[in-house]
Symmetry: C2
Subunit: 376 residues, 2 copies
């Protein structure tokens, strides 16, 4: 047996979370599968939940060296009940990645990929090798380095799916929070290309600058005193009745709904205690703020707040739409959907407590890349 390293995150009953490498067998592909030697896998905000759960990474420590490194961090007892489902389970990590196909099943679509560089999603990408169905792979143009294909799924497909959701549900413009993120930057490019008005909500002046540099028209800083008034103006101008919120907690979703309602009420009509009849929707697709969502309901009865998850959405719209979106990603991989990385990490570096504290900080504009073959 040839062995391969795979990163695993485990929460134990005492509330200790450990992140370490396990030696597993290099998988043998089934007929419809290929085995990818993973060269690059980004650390996305959506990976941090599996990597660290509710652990306090500021108290993390690392013991051992190289591929024997074990990172440990404590979870506050108050969070444990909510995470009892993962206690004792070694979870694999890494939503997406890219690498070279080193083995293939006998089906023609698998054989066709042998030797090719492909981008792929499906979990467990923080590993040296990963077997996946050939149909899940996005082959990239010859000569494209794996790092350029590593982020071809999560952010591009999320951004495109936000626009698809907008169209499917009959909205015509969008509000987006944490808008200077890698995802938010892509969304600006797509919305500009497609002629869709996008209202960007950020928290800091430097984030305003990032989006200005991309030519964004509507950028609102939620730290401004007149945030809701500014937002109401922008919503009135664009007609946005749909928002995607990455923060989840606190009252941001409620403030967005309030601004949407106030914008509706600027068009004179009969007063109703039930508010406007236009449906206003906020989808929470992240949880940067772990505190409860607080809704003051000062916006009538035509509103909704829901969780939103990319795989669920893709499952709902079906394979034909998924292929349509993936085709667009492949075509615009080096333009619209290009990702830039702050730093490339080896397995050992990723398990260092110091470095973990950096990539766990979810800094806008920072993006780390794991390179599972580095320094081995």
């Amino acid at each position: 047996m040839e062995s391969s390293l795979q990163m695993q995150s485990t929460l134990d009953e005492s509330g200790k979370l450990t992140l370490a490498l396990a030696e597993v067998e290099v998988p043998t592909p089934q007929d419809h599968e290929v085995v990818i030697r993973i060269e690059a896998a980004p650390i996305n905000p959506s990976d941090l939940g599996v990597l660290f759960g509710p652990a306090d990474i500021s108290s993390a420590t690392t013991e051992g060296e190289g591929t024997q490194s074990v990172l440990a961090a404590p979870v506050h007892p108050q969070f444990l009940p909510r995470f009892k489902g993962r206690i004792g389970q070694a979870l694999t990590v890494g939503n997406e990645g890219a690498g070279v196909v080193v083995a293939a099943g006998k089906n023609p679509e698998a054989q066709a990929l042998l030797g090719k560089t492909v981008g792929v999603s499906g979990g467990a990408m923080y590993a040296q090798h990963r077997a996946v169905p050939a149909i899940m792979c996005l082959p990239v143009a010859e000569g494209t380095p794996a790092r350029d294909a590593a982020s071809c799924f999560v952010n591009p497909m999320t951004a495109l799916s936000m626009l698809e959701t907008m169209r499917l549900e009959g909205h015509t413009a969008l509000v987006h929070t944490a808008a200077a993120s890698n995802l938010g930057q892509m969304l600006n490019k797509i919305c500009q290309a497609d002629g869709v008005d996008l209202i960007n909500i950020v928290r800091k002046p430097e984030q305003v600058d990032i989006l200005k540099g991309l030519g964004a028209k509507y950028i609102i800083n939620s730290s401004d005193d007149d945030f809701v008034a500014q937002l109401t103006d922008a919503i009135h101008e664009t007609g946005a009745t749909l928002a995607f919120d990455a923060t989840g907690g606190g009252d941001l979703a409620s403030q967005i709904l309030l601004a949407m309602e106030q914008a509706q009420l600027r068009t004179p009509s009969d007063y109703s205690i039930y508010g406007s009849t236009v449906h206003k929707q906020v989808y929470l697709y992240g949880s940067l703020d772990m505190s409860p969502t607080v809704l003051n309901r000062a916006y009538g009865m035509s509103w909704g707040v829901s969780g939103w998850l990319l795989p669920n959405f893709l499952g709902k719209v079906g394979m034909e739409k998924v292929i349509e979106l993936r085709t667009r990603v492949a075509k615009e991989l080096n333009t619209t959907f290009a990702s830039h990385y702050t730093r490339e990490l080896s397995f050992a570096e990723m398990l260092s407590a110091d470095i973990a504290q950096q990539y766990n900080a979810k800094l806008t504009g920072e993006k780390y890349l794991l390179c599972p073959q580095k320094d081995l």
Copy 2:
């Protein structure tokens, strides 16, 4: 001109809410309309929002006598901004009522109703006369007193529409809060007739008794220490993934979603930090608790919380479905949809501060009826 009394609620800029009678002209029907002499109109929880808004009714006073009575109550300044849309507007009140058709437009469907007793909804029913399109009227069997037709719309159509929503959205069982209400009692009768499992959430032992008397199978007291555990058991047994919540504020909706998620997780499957993939929905259709809705999101990503309003739902499903539901109401008016009233009030009694405090208390099992022709 023949004059007619109409109840109006007005909030002024200083934060004083007044409820009084205005003399208006008896309406002349258009071709497609009839004029109803209103004999009975229930005071539903859904009327209290228009009647009193956020006013402190425990501090209400009444000046004047008889039809000259004026009830006044203060609104706390912190609530005023949220209600600025109604400041200075004399709002008519009364979602539904019943009476005798005393004038009709020339269209045949209007003429056919002359002299008939009809139930009707559409607002402004706390009045001596009301003109409405003939098609909105539900004629009742000859000899049926108006009081028996007065509640033929809001609660019956809401209860039936909850079941329709369940079917339309692919759920198979229901959770209902404030479940011992007049509406909740109807919902129990319909669910039993239609073979749909209904989980009743109440707050007091005497409400448990009311529902037991109706043969309800699942009754859970939210004041019990093990409320969420009991609810999880019932949801696991019934498979309910849809709830209608009348309270709106606080963490009840969040507790229901948590119980739904915990019930899903009892069926073994791969652990996912994103929770189960079954969509769990809570509709807030009332606001008995005016405090913010607090969602702790400890139930994955497949959930939604939304406002729900009967007219919006009926507008969505279309006239054919509305007629189907109304036909069922007419057929079961004296059985499934029978309402019982604690007390019949004249206009003057309804404007008495003492009595207002009673019907504003939203007591389960208490239902007041305004009789606009009484004592005049």
